[in-house]
Point group: C2
Chain length 144, copies 2
DNA sequence: CACAATTCAGTTGTGCACAACTTACAGGCC
DNA sequence: GGCCTGTAAGTTGTGCACAACTGAATTGTG
């Protein structure tokens, strides 16, 4: 009696749906800044500390150069970052914020609150969700 | 004192990371079946009941025809589904399973267990996570 | 019946993800 | 020094997501 798994019982589908729904909530807000969601993530990392190498960004976000290289070119075309070959190590490209990129940080301040407002969950629930997801992601990465 | 949001405090990033980590766990398993993760989701829906229209599938999965049309063509090329124009309503395309598509269901039986094993969470935690994510997705959709 | 509005699937274009590969550079080893 | 191994970033190709649009078929309304 082999039974096909059911869609509505899959944690994986719940994650996939929730993730897409969350970026959909962010999309119109980020549109105002001229950013996509992955570009916003890169900016978040840079706002914490810069310059950063491509590999460095990749480790922070779990993305490889195949995703980041073109994304960073687009951010550079938008005038938010600058890519400079490192002098010490010619292999490395240091990603610097431009003044416009730094300014964007202020406009992005209230963005996470939008998600919290739209989420329909209490602050504790959101906090617990974040923690659980963190543990889950860790475990999934360790598993292969 | 406008402070830039921090990456590691964002529920949205936690969702995004966990979702990608989960599909990464599924990827090698689904490779054996010849499916991508979104293709697997479509098959899950069809295994529950078929034939289904494109719009019908889209509502179930939260995907539009722009995503589904080419995906279904690939599933047809793989020999797992057949697309037939409906007789009653010539606008509609009914997606039928082929025998090969039906057979695949058996091979997919154990897949969700892999995620559960890799998750490092108890059954209750997984169940609670699924429920919370469901509520979150609902609320996010309602919010716009 | 006529025809306007709606619905369904598909197409086009952009931007991720990710695998596989390439190129350029760095550092160690003989 | 010459070579070998490893590493950083970039390129290519495939497959989603999703917005915007197209074209065909159906439904609603006068």
């Amino acid at each position: 009696m082999t039974e096909a798994p059911r869609l509505d019982r899959q944690v994986c589908f719940a994650l996939y749906s929730a993730s897409r729904a969350a970026t959909a909530v962010y999309r119109p807000i980020l549109d105002d800044l001229g950013l996509t969601y992955p570009q916003y993530l890169v900016m978040l990392v840079l706002w914490e500390s810069e310059p950063r190498g491509v590999k460095d960004l990749g480790e922070e976000l779990g993305l490889d150069s195949g995703t980041l290289s073109p994304l960073l070119k687009r951010l550079e075309a938008l005038g938010f970052v600058e890519r400079r070959r490192s002098g010490e190590d010619e292999r490395r490209v240091a990603i610097h914020l431009t003044p416009a990129g730094r300014d964007l940080s202020g406009k992005a301040t209230g963005i996470p609150q939008h998600l919290a407002d739209a989420a329909g969950l209490s602050a504790e629930e959101l906090e617990q969700l974040r923690t659980t997801l963190g543990r889950l992601t860790e475990a999934l990465h360790r598993s292969h």
